[in-house]
Structure formats: structure tokens, C-alpha cells
């Protein structure tokens, strides 16, 4: 007698997206990540064909102003230079892609000009061959101009730019579309808002395959369960046929490394560096189990642990 396992019969699947353009695609990246085309729950190989495993990116900040001293210590001096940092991500740590965060464009902080920021994007594109995602400062007015420059700097490379929200999506979408790039839409831990930003972008003319959605990653201990359930619901909605949800999910899990408890100096909670890495790993791994297609981490050891976990989840020893 063999067991008759009830299987989920999903009808929908997520759009196939490409991050990064290779020379064949008229870009200069060493690889183009094929994301999406997901037709089942993650690693549920008994009922759905295995999809591409999640990709792991690492972030580069253009300013260390807001970085915790503990994190600086853990990361070493390489983070003082964004280009060197990006190179380390490609050659030493071997992540799948780079997420460059242009925090210094914030008018209330360094207020670096869009041109200056865009030239850093060019430098990173020149110094590395990994696919690239670029986030702005979070200030809508600044980012409208900034992301236009950024997208132009990344013309033809299939970079993704973000984060697009209801109040700024038009400028980001236009900047992306004009240069053959993609957009990361952002929603605040709300499945309806995630759907809304995706619809807004598509109505504006962005193709489904040029959209990624960031559902807001909450760190372990600080609301992780909200992100976990939002991702599970987003993905199940997509698989059940909701067109607006059939986009790939990206989670910025560096919040895990920066969580207050991850860095708490209280010796009763064990070694800080180990705990912080575990914190970041668990944050990212949990989102992968829920269905995230792309995760971003900061610490190289978190990346190594995620590689091990994904390898084993794919059936490797």
C-alpha cells in the first residue's frame, strides 16, 4: 500500500525575471540570474518541480554613518571603501548579487549629489561583474532625481532600482523603463499594499518580469513572524492565480545583523559575533522557507550558512 498524499494543485506561477545582463544580452555582467517561474511551495519537491534555489546577495553602503560599531568590527576595514567592499562580495565571499544602498544621498545627512552617487554606481559596475540592485536614500524627492541618474548609469545592465512606493513609484518606474532596468516595489508588511504597488507599477507600464517586491523584512525577534506569514500568503496568492502577486520576492535580511538583541553586549546571551550571525541567518533562512526568492545579508558567515542550508534543502548531504 502506498500513501496517497494530498497534493496542492496550483494553477499559477510567478513571472520569470532576469537580474543582470551578460555580454550576450548587451550588458557586462558575468551572469544573469534567472529568478521566478515558481509553480509550487519552496522545496516541496513531492508535488512541484523544483524551481531555482533562492539567490543570496550582499549589501554595500556608501556611508558608514549609521553603522553600529559592533558590525563595523565584525565586517573589518573593507567596508570603508564601497568599491573594495563590492569586490570582496564578488571575489572573496562569492555572493550571487550586490545590493548597493545610496544612503548618503539623504538631504538631511551627507546630502551627496545624484551625480556623485551615480558615479559610484558606475565604479561598482566597472569594478565587479555581479548583477546589481541599487536602493536610494528613502527620501522621495531626492530619489526621484537620484534614481534617474542611477538607472542611466546602469543602462543595459538589467539592474533593479528601489524602493518604489505609492508616492514615488512613477519616477522610479520611468527611470527603470527608459534604461531597460527593473524596479523593486516596497510594501509595509501588508499583503494588500504589496498587491497595490505591483498593480500600480504594471498599470504604469512596467512589465511583470521587471518587478520585484520587498514585503519589508522584520528581523528575528522584532516581528519576523509578520514577514514570514506575509511571504507565505503572497506566494500562495500567486500560485492560486493572483496576477498582481506573481512577482518574485526580495528580502533585505541585514536587519537581522543589526537587531538590537543580536548586538546586545549582555554576556548572558553568549558571544556577540556568533549570535549576530545566527540572528541574520535565521532571519534570512526563515524567509527562504516562506518563499523568498532573493535575500540580502551583510555578514559573510551568514552567507556561508545559508549556502549550506539551501544545499541541504535541495537534497544535498
Amino acid at each position: 500500500m502506498s500513501l496517497e498524499v494530498p497534493k496542492e494543485k496550483f494553477t499559477g506561477k510567478t513571472a520569470q525575471t532576469k537580474l543582470g545582463a551578460t555580454p550576450e544580452m548587451k550588458g557586462t555582467r558575468s551572469k544573469s540570474l534567472s529568478i521566478g517561474n515558481v509553480a509550487g511551495l519552496p522545496f516541496h519537491t513531492f508535488e512541484a518541480a523544483a524551481s531555482v534555489p533562492p539567490y543570496i546577495g550582499m549589501d554595500v553602503l556608501d556611508t558608514l554613518r549609521g553603522m553600529d560599531d559592533q558590525v563595523k568590527k565584525m565586517m573589518g576595514s573593507v567596508v570603508n571603501d564601497p568599491v573594495a567592499w563590492a569586490k570582496a562580495i564578488e571575489h572573496e565571499w562569492k555572493a550571487d548579487f550586490i545590493t548597493l544602498k545610496l544612503l548618503s544621498a539623504n538631504p538631511e545627512e551627507e546630502n551627496r549629489s545624484p551625480q556623485e552617487c551615480a558615479s559610484l554606481v558606475k565604479e561598482v559596475l566597472k569594478a565587479t561583474k555581479l548583477p546589481l540592485i541599487v536602493y536610494g536614500s528613502g527620501n522621495f524627492e531626492t530619489d526621484a532625481k537620484l534614481m534617474e541618474e542611477v538607472s542611466t548609469a546602469g543602462k543595459g545592465e538589467r539592474i533593479f532600482i528601489g524602493l518604489a512606493e505609492e508616492d514615488n513609484y512613477k519616477s522610479l518606474a520611468a527611470a527603470a523603463m527608459a534604461n531597460g532596468n527593473g524596479v523593486v516595489g516596497f510594501s509595509n508588511l501588508d499583503i494588500n499594499l504589496a498587491k497595490q504597488i505591483s498593480i500600480l507599477l504594471m498599470d504604469f507600464g512596467v512589465r511583470k518580469e521587471d518587478i520585484l517586491v520587498d514585503p519589508l523584512q522584520a528581523a528575528l525577534g522584532v516581528g519576523l513572524e509578520y514577514t514570514y506569514s506575509v511571504i507565505e500568503r503572497l506566494r500562495q496568492g500567486a500560485l492560486r492565480g493572483d496576477n498582481a502577486l506573481q512577482v518574485s520576492i526580495i528580502c533585505d535580511c541585514t536587519v537581522g545583523l543589526n537587531a538590537r538583541e543580536a548586538l546586545d553586549p549582555n554576556p548572558k546571551l553568549g558571544d556577540i559575533s556568533k549570535r549576530a550571525v545566527n540572528w541574520e541567518f535565521i532571519t534570512a533562512n526563515t524567509s527562504i522557507l516562506a518563499g523568498a526568492d532573493l535575500v540580502v545579508v551583510r555578514h559573510p558567515e551568514s552567507l556561508n550558512l545559508l549556502r549550506k542550508s539551501i544545499h541541504s534543502l535541495q537534497g544535498g548531504a
Partner: protein, 440 residues
């Protein structure tokens, strides 16, 4: 649970009315809704009673162990996804001690296991159990370890080994803690079942795939052990995820009784990876090998997160929290006790680098806007709270910064407290700039 029609088919159909219902169908309806007991029907036969008792049991059996060391309960889950309702019984985290370790190391490990206890957002969280592992392949070393465990900690006990004769004496030493024992497989089944029956312990059974496991569970049940815990493949995380998912699905979607039991997962040399999978994905008990606090603490936090009831938001305590190292007269801010709101606001204050006091009002876990709209975040309530906590006296505060979203409460709050009310930014992310520019 069978439907009323399915139950009706099994009833005598005499319509005698002795159950106080006019017809057997009416009685069946009440039964299906669990309003009456089958015993009210004097004519139903024994076989039907057994069938119905079985099919009305929960899809996953609740298994308890731990005895006088504090009862642990696993199983009795009804969902595949926490957002559909919630997960009921949190994953038990246990730490393995081998009977081949030196006596000193055994004692140290047991005491260490007992020390892994923390308080986090108002909840106590701790490592739940200690696993006594018969690595020696003899009974005497395990007996010695059992004695150390009894003397050195007050944790529930799990006893694992290959042979019933080797774990038997240890199980008896720990009998007041009603240990979970195992691991039964097709080779040692009869002896393990006999030991479980003799000691009244729940039994872990293992097979390399779900199908074999299902057969084994059915056999164990037939032999008279009801409290079973399932351990499937140990090969890799992918297989474990698939098996744990199939076991849960078969139990709750297909009412497959032989898989309707809690599960156990043993770390295969990488505690972090195994536990990070098993906690969100249907592992009832996880056996860990490394008790490093820097690992256990985040795992306990993960468990707390995943097993939070999605309909009951996690709340933080109503009080004044220091952010940074504030002094008397440092800025005082107000927010609600929804944990996410608190964490976000506290985080943004921290980012500002301005040491501050954060006054958290109990809004039953609602965020600022929702609480305000629902009348649970009012100037009257806040004024009372300021009085109760003696905020003005203790922090020497003469002004309070309220969330921009509730600027409408500023006039009334000023009137009630006599404090100067400053309307802060609408979104928490505006706090760093706001605090830095605050006139001293």
C-alpha cells in the same frame, strides 16, 4: 470528524427517541456538532462506538511527557500555515548529553541545560528538556547519566538508544519525570513497546521514510502504545522538510491516523540549520547537540515568533523604557504597546543618538492609529498612566512628545497633565531628524 450523514449511517435507525431526540438523524446532527455524547444512544453497537471515538479524536494526537519536572505537550495541531489560525504547541527544544562523556562533563552539560532560561518581551523562554543518549551501548553508563540528570536539573527527560534493555534502567530512574523514550524501529520494536508499556512512557519510533513510519506506527498502536512520536529520515534538510510536510498533511488533510502524531527531529551535526527548519516547519521536538547560548537564544526567539498567535499581537509591558542612557529631563516620547510599534519607535530613537524616555501605553497590542480610532489610546488614558507611573516626578519631564498621527489629543492632554505637549512626526522614521533638531 465525520459528517452528520456519515454518523447517521452507523446508528441503529430505530428512531426510538430514548436519546431525547425524535429521530436518529436529529441525534446524528447533534453528535456531529459535539453537542451530545454517543453514550446517550442505548442501542449503538460497540464497533461503531470505537470507530466514532477514533474519528472524532483530534487529527494529531496530543502527547505529553515530563511528569513532575513540568509537563510538556506536543501535537494537537490543526493547521499547515500559521496564518490560517495558529500553531498551538511550540516546538520543544532539547539538548543531548551522551553517556560516553566524562562524569564531570555530563554534570556540567546537565546544569548548563538547566541554565538556559531567559525572559523576553515579558515571556519566559527556556530550553525544555535534556536528552540522555545511550552512545555507550551499555546500560550502566546511561544509568549513571540518568542519576546526574535527576540530581543536576529539574528538566523533563528524553531517553534515546537502540536497545530497550540498555535504556530500561535509566527510564526507571527517571520515571517520576515521565520520560519520552526511544527509538523504536523494526528491529527492536517488541522490546521497546514492552518497555514503553511498562513505564507508561510515550515512544519515539523511526523509519527512513513516511510510508514505513506509518506502518510502524499502526503496529505500535495495535500492540497497545497510544502515545507515539514520529521520527522520519535523517538524511538531509530537503527530505526532512518533505517528510514533515507529508506527515502533517496526511494527518490533517487526509485524516490518516497512523501519521497523526507529533514529530521529532535530531540535529545531524548542525543544530542551527536543523532547528531553523524544524521550528517553522512542523517539527514538534528538536534534539540539539550544542548548547551554546549564542545559538540557543536566537532559536528560542524564533520559536517565540513563529508560535505567536497571529490574532493576538505580541505586546510589551506598559512602562517607561530608557532608550540609550537618558537622564532626568531627557526627551519623553509616547507610543503604544504593540510590540512592532514599540520596536520600531525604540529603534528610531536609538538611531537619533538622543537618549530618551519612551512611555508605552497599554492599547491591547494595537498600533497608534488603530488604537486611537478604537478609543484605546486617549488623552484621558495617557494622563492617568502618567499619574500612575509618576512620570513627571521620576523623569523630571515637563513635556511629552506624542505621535504625529494623534496630534488631535494634544490640547486635551496638555489640559489634563499640565505638561507641554509636542507633536512629533507622523511616521517613526522621522524621529532621528526630529529629535536631533529638538530645542534643548
Amino acid at each position: 470528524m465525520p459528517t452528520a450523514m456519515e454518523i447517521y449511517k452507523m446508528l441503529p435507525k430505530k428512531n426510538c427517541g430514548e436519546c431525547k431526540f425524535p429521530t436518529c438523524l436529529a441525534f446524528a446532527m447533534q453528535l456531529a456538532n459535539k453537542k451530545v455524547a454517543l453514550a446517550d444512544c442505548p442501542y449503538v453497537d460497540e464497533a461503531v462506538k470505537a470507530t466514532l471515538a477514533d474519528s472524532s479524536a483530534p487529527p494529531i494526537r496530543l502527547v505529553k511527557f515530563g511528569g513532575n519536572a513540568g509537563e510538556l505537550a506536543v501535537g494537537d495541531e490543526t493547521e499547515m500555515f500559521r496564518h490560517d489560525k495558529k500553531f498551538f504547541h511550540q516546538t520543544i527544544l532539547s539538548l543531548r548529553v551522551k553517556d560516553t562523556a566524562s562524569e564531570a562533563d555530563q554534570k556540567k552539560a546537565v546544569e548548563h541545560a538547566a541554565s538556559l532560561s531567559f525572559e523576553r518581551v515579558g515571556q519566559k523562554m527556556k530550553l525544555d528538556a535534556v536528552v540522555l543518549h545511550n552512545a555507550s551501548g551499555q546500560s550502566a553508563p546511561l544509568e549513571a547519566l540518568a542519576k546526574h540528570a535527576m540530581a543536576g536539573c529539574n528538566l523533563p527527560v528524553i531517553i534515546l538508544g537502540d536497545k530497550a534493555e540498555h535504556i530500561g534502567p535509566a527510564a526507571k530512574i527517571c520515571k517520576d519525570r515521565k520520560p519520552l523514550i526511544g527509538i523504536a524501529n523494526k528491529h527492536n520494536l517488541d522490546a521497546m513497546v514492552a518497555l514503553a508499556k511498562e513505564t507508561g512512557s510515550p515512544l519515539v519510533i523511526h523509519a527512513e521514510n513516511v510510508e514505513e513510519l506509518s506502518k510502524l506506527a499502526a503496529t505500535v498502536k495495535e500492540k497497545g502504545v497510544q502515545d507515539i512520536v514520529l521520527e522520519s529520515t535523517r538524511t538531509n534538510l530537503g527530505h526532512q522538510l518533505v517528510d514533515l510536510t507529508i506527515i502533517r498533511r496526511m494527518a490533517i488533510k487526509a485524516s490518516h491516523r497512523a501519521l497523526g502524531y507529533p514529530t521529532l527531529v535530531q540535529s545531524q551535526g548542525h543544530d542551527l540549520l536543523t532547528a531553523s527548519l524544524a521550528i517553522p516547519k512542523y517539527g514538534s521536538i528538536v534534539v540539539l547537540d550544542d548548547g551554546d547560548v549564542s545559538l540557543i537564544y536566537p532559536l528560542l526567539a524564533l520559536r517565540q515568533n513563529i508560535f505567536t498567535d497571529p490574532q493576538v499581537p505580541l505586546q510589551v509591558e506598559e512602562k517607561v523604557y530608557p532608550v540609550g542612557t537618558p537622564k532626568e529631563g531627557s526627551p519623553l516620547l509616547l507610543t503604544t504597546n504593540f510590540s512592532l510599534t514599540y520596536f520600531t519607535v525604540a529603534g528610531d530613537i536609538e538611531k537619533s543618538g538622543v537618549p530618551s524616555w519612551l512611555l508605552v501605553a497599554n492599547t491591547e497590542g494595537l498600533s497608534v492609529m488603530t488604537a486611537f480610532a478604537a478609543g484605546k489610546f486617549t488623552p484621558e488614558g495617557v494622563a492617568k498612566l502618567i499619574e500612575k507611573l509618576q512620570v513627571k516626578q521620576k523623569n523630571n519631564s515637563t513635556s511629552i512628545i506624542i505621535p504625529g498621527m494623534v496630534s488631535r489629543m494634544s490640547g486635551k492632554l496638555e489640559e489634563l497633565t499640565g505638561m507641554k505637549v509636542i507633536v512629533g512626526p507622523r511616521e517613526s522614521e522621522g524621529l532621528p531628524k526630529f529629535l536631533k533638531n529638538l530645542p534643548k
